[in-house]
């Protein structure tokens, strides 16, 4: 029976995680996508070159969004990363956002954290490795939470069954 529970739990965890990548730098976007694809087997990656596209696809329920801060290059009026972050968080609080930035600015880091980003990563030599690490950690947490939910549902069911069984036996012995 414990095997059965385990396979049941595994089925849900094998459902792939959905990750959105948002950056106006197409080169960086493509190389990040390839790198993540190579490293993680069961994730679905979607790439967007501006914040508006990302927001209009939020219906696909991404688990993680990797968002560049500077999205306004060449397009006047475009949303920057912080505004996109605020909008994402106001739509769904469960989406985890990682903020990327080309410059290491204290104000950007502080406000990203303030508005609910889980991590702030500067675009530097080690950015890919750090992003992979962040992704791995959040994937672990999401998978564990899913598995825990499954186990807890089973536990409630078993508790209920046990309760009914005890009640029935108690009634039986009381009547005889």
């Amino acid at each position: 029976m414990s095997d059965l529970i385990k396979t049941k739990a595994m089925e849900t965890t094998n459902k792939s995680l959905s990750v959105f990548l948002v950056d106006d730098d197409r080169m960086f976007l493509l190389s990040l996508k390839n790198e993540l694809k190579r490293r993680f087997k069961n994730i679905t990656l979607s790439t967007f070159i501006n914040g508006e596209d990302c927001l209009s696809h939020l219906g696909e329920k991404p688990d993680i969004v990797i968002l560049d801060y500077y999205l306004t290059a060449g397009i006047p009026g475009a949303l920057n990363g912080m505004e996109v972050l605020k909008k994402i968080k106001s739509i769904s609080n469960s989406i985890q956002v990682v903020m990327l930035s080309a410059q290491d600015k204290l104000e950007v880091a502080a406000s990203a954290i303030k508005y609910g980003a889980i991590e702030y990563v500067a675009k530097s030599e080690t950015a890919f490795i750090r992003l992979q690490n962040v992704l791995k950690n959040s994937m672990d947490v999401i998978e564990y939470s899913r598995e825990t939910k499954q186990y807890e549902a089973w536990n409630y069911l078993m508790a209920l069954f046990l309760l009914i069984y005890t009640a029935v036996t108690a009634l039986y012995y009381l009547n005889h």
């Binding site: 290491d104 490795i129 690490n133």
Partner: protein
């Protein structure tokens, strides 16, 4: 987020000033009941590993006082061997791809470069680590309860069987 009981954090850095300021910042920023202990060398940290810290914040270069001291990666690998549940955050003064890569490969939780945004980043990463620890604990508890229930059912079946036979 609810609090975790007895959360303990080790900070390891040979730069005393950085150590003190980090300790002060964390003490004031984190709203949990946390015990923070600071060590200047990796050996000291390993010596106190029996206190089972939940999180270790480790500097990569630890040899400014003693040139033969262990570096952060060696300490990380020892910690992971002796207390695998401990989450380790690696700090580094200079950005090095191989150190970041090795940290990840050895099971480190995160790699952070020391610069002006470090205190904010570390605070956030510690929060994530706490969340991860909590998720793991809840997961373990759920599995344990499931096993208990299965044992319960097995016992009931056994009793029913014995009753039938005798």
């Amino acid at each position: 987020m609810e609090t975790i009981k007895d959360l303990s954090i080790f900070l390891v850095d040979d730069d005393t000033l950085f150590l003190k300021s980090l300790e002060y910042q964390l003490q004031h920023r984190l709203k949990y009941n946390i015990k923070i202990k600071s060590f200047q060398t990796g050996e000291e940290c390993l010596h106190n590993l029996h206190q089972k810290p939940n999180i270790v914040v480790l500097d990569y270069l630890l040899n400014s006082h003693d040139p033969d001291a262990m570096n952060g990666l060696q300490v990380l690998q020892k910690i992971k061997r002796e207390a695998p549940e401990t989450e380790v955050i690696m700090l580094s003064g200079h950005e090095k791809v191989d150190v970041a890569f090795e940290t990840m490969k050895s099971g480190g939780f995160s790699y952070v470069i020391k610069n002006n945004t470090t205190p904010i980043e570390i605070h956030e990463i510690i929060k994530n680590a706490i969340h991860s620890i909590k998720t793991t604990r809840r997961h373990t508890a759920a599995i344990l309860i499931a096993k208990l229930f299965i044992a319960c059912f097995a016992l009931i079946l056994l009793i029913l069987f014995i009753k039938r036979v005798f």
